[in-house]
């Protein structure tokens, strides 16, 4: 198991190195600082949510509502701002919405025992509906300058607040998953919930915490999006959940739970960002970009199964 993961990480590293080298050689603008910043900035909200989604998937659950929560948080901020609420208070309220939304998901999954696929699909529709009710068909813009600047300008050198948040969260998530009891429990519950229960782990509380954290981080990411684009509408972050889940799966986390690491998730993030940036700079259109990412996902699901496939064919040959 460990060996397979190690080799998967090696494979991802090789893929990343190849794409990076190709970009660097074929594109004179690629290695410039503004382009590297743009590359992260364009997807920064998604990759921040990827970090918590890794916990959800390793824990053998799924959260389809993250994109809608990002949208709800951004729209709630726009709406509150328009009602004259102090922006700092509005930010606090939006993060609270994230916690509450995540708690609803977590309660239904852990205590009521409904599949997370169903619960979070309902939340996907519900949160999006709320977002659209709040801002109706309008766009809300003209946020305070400091808010827009936070999303658009470098805070430490050229590094934006969102990028600093991402790298900080990456380190924090890595420590929690790899070095803490909470991380170990995440794997154990994801592999086999019954075993975890027998071992005395409070699986309900554990799952609740993960869903609340996911709601909170999604709400935070939604605010970052609002600051980066300086405007919100009902369709903010629509469909982001698929890109987010794709990156986690590409990172080698099993959709059935129990496996995956943050190192390979981080590599998957780098692969997708570099690939997108390279394709965009090479003027590749949207449809082909989507196709390439889709192919990559299929490959990432198939390749780990290749040795299994080989064993099956060997066995059938031996029987002949």
């Amino acid at each position: 198991m460990k060996k397979r993961l190690l080799s998967w990480e090696g494979l991802l590293l090789a893929a990343f190195a190849t794409i990076f080298a190709f970009n660097a050689i074929s594109l004179p603008q690629f290695l410039t600082i503004p382009n590297q910043i743009n590359m992260f900035q364009l997807s920064i909200e998604k990759v921040i949510v990827v970090l918590v989604m890794a916990f959800v998937i390793i824990n053998a659950e799924i959260d389809l509502s993250v994109g809608s929560m990002m949208g709800l948080s951004a729209c709630a901020f726009g709406w509150l701002f328009q009602q004259g609420v102090d922006p700092v208070v509005a930010i606090g309220l939006c993060l609270l919405i994230g916690v509450l939304g995540g708690a609803v998901n977590g309660l239904f999954v852990a205590w009521v025992g409904l599949p997370s696929l169903v619960v979070t699909l309902a939340a996907l529709i519900g949160f999006r509906g709320l977002a659209r009710v709040l801002v109706e068909d309008r766009g809300i813009t003209d946020f305070p300058d400091w808010f827009d600047a936070l999303g658009q300008q470098g805070l430490i050198g050229p590094m934006t607040f969102a990028m600093i948040s991402f790298f900080t969260l990456l380190v924090v998530a890595w420590i929690i998953l790899e070095k803490s009891a909470f991380g170990r429990h995440t794997y154990v519950i994801g592999s086999n919930r019954d075993v975890a229960e027998f071992a005395g782990i409070n699986t309900k509380r554990h799952k609740l915490i993960i869903f609340v954290a996911t709601g909170l981080v999604s709400a935070f990411a939604g605010l970052l999006y609002a600051a980066r684009v300086g405007a919100v509408r009902g369709d903010v972050a629509n469909g982001f959940e698929l890109d987010i889940i794709t990156i986690v799966l590409l990172g080698g986390a099993s959709i059935f739970g129990g496996s995956g690491t943050l190192v390979s998730t981080g590599l998957a993030i780098l692969i997708v960002l570099n690939l997108r940036n390279g394709m965009a700079l090479h003027n590749v259109t949207g449809h082909i970009q989507t196709g390439v990412i889709g192919f990559l996902l299929i490959a990432s699901v198939l390749v780990p199964r290749l040795d299994l496939l080989r064993r099956i064919t060997k066995k059938s040959k031996g029987q002949e």
Partner: protein
């Protein structure tokens, strides 16, 4: 004294107009190199392909050695995709981005950054609502006049009285929203429309299947619905097909903005007796001339500047009456298609 003042104003105005009238139109010098990107709302819609044909025609005419790329996002990823392409264009040091905006004001920071990096942003079809990060908007027709034309078509089809509903594109499309608003105003202000009742506005997201289903849902919800007005080429075609498939054309007619080639059969069989549109090839052509003039430094983009756009003649940059602090070039006019002229236009 008062009169004198007025005279002075009048004289100044006359002077102003004469100056405009005699100002020479700038003839753009061809052969200047500038890379450009034509960025539609998303790919896979015929009118955007037509706009591209027009832009490519102008590109060849002006012998620009730089490349004109036709680049767009997928419909599902329209907003993020447009922002990404705009951001990348600045990195690539493109001379200009020709944008049909689908991202509302969300694209403004990226467009502003592109302008700061020296990339001109010329919008067409759908502008940036705040006008931020935009050099100039090439408007297909005056947004207010579209509202009146739609109201007039409704009046003619309904015979002056009846229920109608609007099937639009996405809820956030700045152009469609402005036209619907203009139509509502026309309906509310002119007494001749007093018996026309607008019962609902729904959105088909500019996707054929969604629009088709929305059209059928409208008929179910409003049993007395006489007309579906769709100010988008995708919506009008889907609605006409839905009415035809369900045999509802006698009861509920379809009108709006459509392409003759896509609408000809529905106009001939009476499902969509009247619709209107402008030429998207011309729109792409004029937008390219504008962008080329700005990117090559031959136009400054100031209000009052007049230039010659090849075969289409002279155009002047003016203040946009619909958006404060924004500038536009008005292309206009457009054609109303009926049984009499649709077949010729469809060829």
């Amino acid at each position: 004294m008062k009169n004198l003042g007025l005279l002075g104003v009048a004289a100044a105005l006359m002077l102003g107009t004469t100056q405009f009238a005699y100002a020479d139109a700038i003839k753009l010098e061809s052969g200047k190199e500038s890379k450009m990107i034509l960025l539609p709302k998303f790919l896979g819609i015929l009118v955007f392909d037509q706009a591209n044909e027009g832009a490519q025609e102008a590109h060849a005419e002006l012998a620009n050695p730089g490349k004109l790329e036709f680049l767009g996002p997928t419909p599902e990823n329209s907003v993020a995709g447009q922002i990404e392409i705009m951001t990348t264009a600045a990195t690539q040091k493109q001379g200009a981005v020709l944008l049909s905006n689908n991202a509302g004001d969300q694209i403004a920071p990226a467009a502003k950054a592109a302008m700061d990096a020296g990339t001109k942003v010329v919008t067409w079809d759908s502008p940036i609502p705040s006008g931020e990060g935009e050099s100039v908007f090439v408007a297909q027709v005056d947004f207010g006049s579209i509202g009146i034309v739609m109201a007039d078509m409704a009046h003619s089809i309904l015979g002056g009285a009846g229920e109608m509903a609007v099937l639009s594109a996405t809820p956030d499309a700045a152009n469609q929203n402005a036209w619907i608003e203009a139509m509502k105003q026309a309906l509310a202000t002119d007494a001749k429309y007093k018996d026309i009742k607008l019962v609902d506005v729904v959105y088909g997201d500019d996707q054929a299947e969604v629009s088709y289903n929305r059209a059928l849902a409208l008929v179910d919800k409003y049993p007395d619905l006489k007309l579906i007005m769709s100010p988008t080429t995708v919506g009008i075609q889907a609605a006409a097909k839905a009415m035809q498939d369900e045999g509802l054309c006698e009861k509920t007619k379809v009108s709006g903005l459509g392409l003759p080639s896509e609408m000809v059969s529905y106009t001939m069989n009476g499902c969509a007796p009247e619709f209107a549109l402008w030429d998207f090839r011309d729109l792409g052509y004029l937008t390219y001339y504008t962008a080329y003039g700005l990117a090559s430094g031959q136009l400054t983009g100031e209000i009052g500047e007049t230039f010659t756009a090849g075969r289409m003649g002279d155009y002047t940059i003016e203040a946009d009456p619909g958006r404060a602090n924004a500038k536009r070039i008005l292309m206009g006019p457009f054609t109303v298609y009926t049984k009499d002229n649709v077949e010729a236009a469809a060829k």
